[in-house]
Amino acid sequence: MTDEQSTPKRSFPAADIARVSVFAALIAVLGLPGALNVFGDAVPITLQTLGVMLAGTILGTWRSALAVMVLLLLVAAGLPLLAGGRGGLGVFTGPTAGFLLGWVPGAAVTGWIVERGGRTPSTARLVTACLVGGVGVVYLCGIPVQALVTGLSLGKTAVLSAVFLPGDLAKAALASLVARGTQRAYPDAVPAVRRERLRAGE
């Protein structure tokens, strides 16, 4: 086939490399102290999960998963890119490792649901995507790992994790609002529109 050499190029053009790396960096930066404090300075909320949901809604399934993987790879290599300057292999053997690794399927599921919405994903779809991908899938990965590491039962771990649920639900709502605003201001931020444009450009 003549496509032998052009296949990799089409499946991963420079435009995607740029978007994936910038979004991986954006997720890292959202963990910086003072990036955003929602209720004054009383409750410092790490916005990295917000970044993961936004990556999902804007980059789509595979690219968002790759962006999260790139970030986690750099973290594993020892760079302090997680909220509070955390980094290193410790976060992958610690009790919250599952939540962190759950970001990968979480972003992918978020992206998948948004992509099913075509050129103009509705607000309801964005909210659903962020809730299912960014909260549901992440908790589904995180709670069993935490139960395994701590030796607590699944039920008790789930109850303990519920402390973070209100914050995460608020982040999912915020992420869908922000995604909606971004996609209005920059139509290319809709995965389906983006794909069509890249295809047309070739």
């Binding site: 420079a14 955003l36 929602v38 955390r86 053997t93 609002l177 931020a189």
Partner: protein, 201 residues
């Protein structure tokens, strides 16, 4: 942007000289072993081994504490919960297991150069080339991400200032929407620049 370096502590111990891949494999094995250890006595033995390894590596107490510090409150909470629902041995062993796993991983981080670890992890990611991401693109992706972190941090500062100038510091949307749009603009310009330099050819 300061401090975008690993936590590597230079040294010449045998742990420093072990190849990164061997250390990662050792870490995976020992974390699995930690999960299988049930009795407090066995875990106390494991704790002694970890302390010995830290002593041999010569990274110092401050560096060791910096690795374990992030889980300190979690460890306290876990101990209390286990004490209420189970008994003292169970509480001690599950807390010890969490702290030891984090300490061991921290030891690998402290004794391995970031570049060596990154090269090793990149090799582990080699299978992504079947998705069209050859080793060159993968390392370009990683270095572009590193370069983008200070750029995004600058963008955050600029958006914050714009927000302050408009008097809507409290609005999370007025922060995040311009930030994400700005990030996308930057990314797409970067993509065009890469394509213009022949990356897609």
């Amino acid at each position: 942007m300061t401090g975008l370096t690993g936590a590597y502590v230079p040294g010449g111990s045998f742990l420093h000289r072990l190849p990164a891949g061997a250390k990662l494999a050792g870490l995976a094995l020992s974390c699995t072993a930690l999960l299988l250890l049930r009795s407090p006595a066995a875990l106390a033995g494991a704790a002694a081994v970890v302390v010995l390894l830290y002593a041999v590596s010569g990274v110092g107490v401050a560096a060791a504490w910096a690795q374990v510090r992030p889980v300190r409150w979690f460890a306290v909470a876990l101990f209390c919960v286990q004490l209420v629902f189970a008994d003292l041995p169970a509480a001690a062993s599950s807390t010890l297991r969490v702290v030891l796993a984090v300490a061991l991983a921290g030891l690998v981080t402290l004794t391995t150069r970031t570049s060596a670890l990154m090269a090793c992890l990149e090799r582990c990611l080699a299978p992504v080339r079947f998705a069209g991401l050859d080793p060159f693109r993968l390392s370009l992706l990683l270095s572009l991400t590193l370069r983008s972190v200070p750029v995004m941090a600058d963008l955050v500062t600029r958006v914050r200032e714009a927000q302050r100038a408009r008097g809507i510091e409290r609005s999370a949307r007025a922060f995040a929407v311009p930030l994400v749009v700005g990030a996308l603009r930057h990314a797409d310009a970067l993509g065009e620049a890469l394509a213009a330099r022949g990356l897609d050819d």
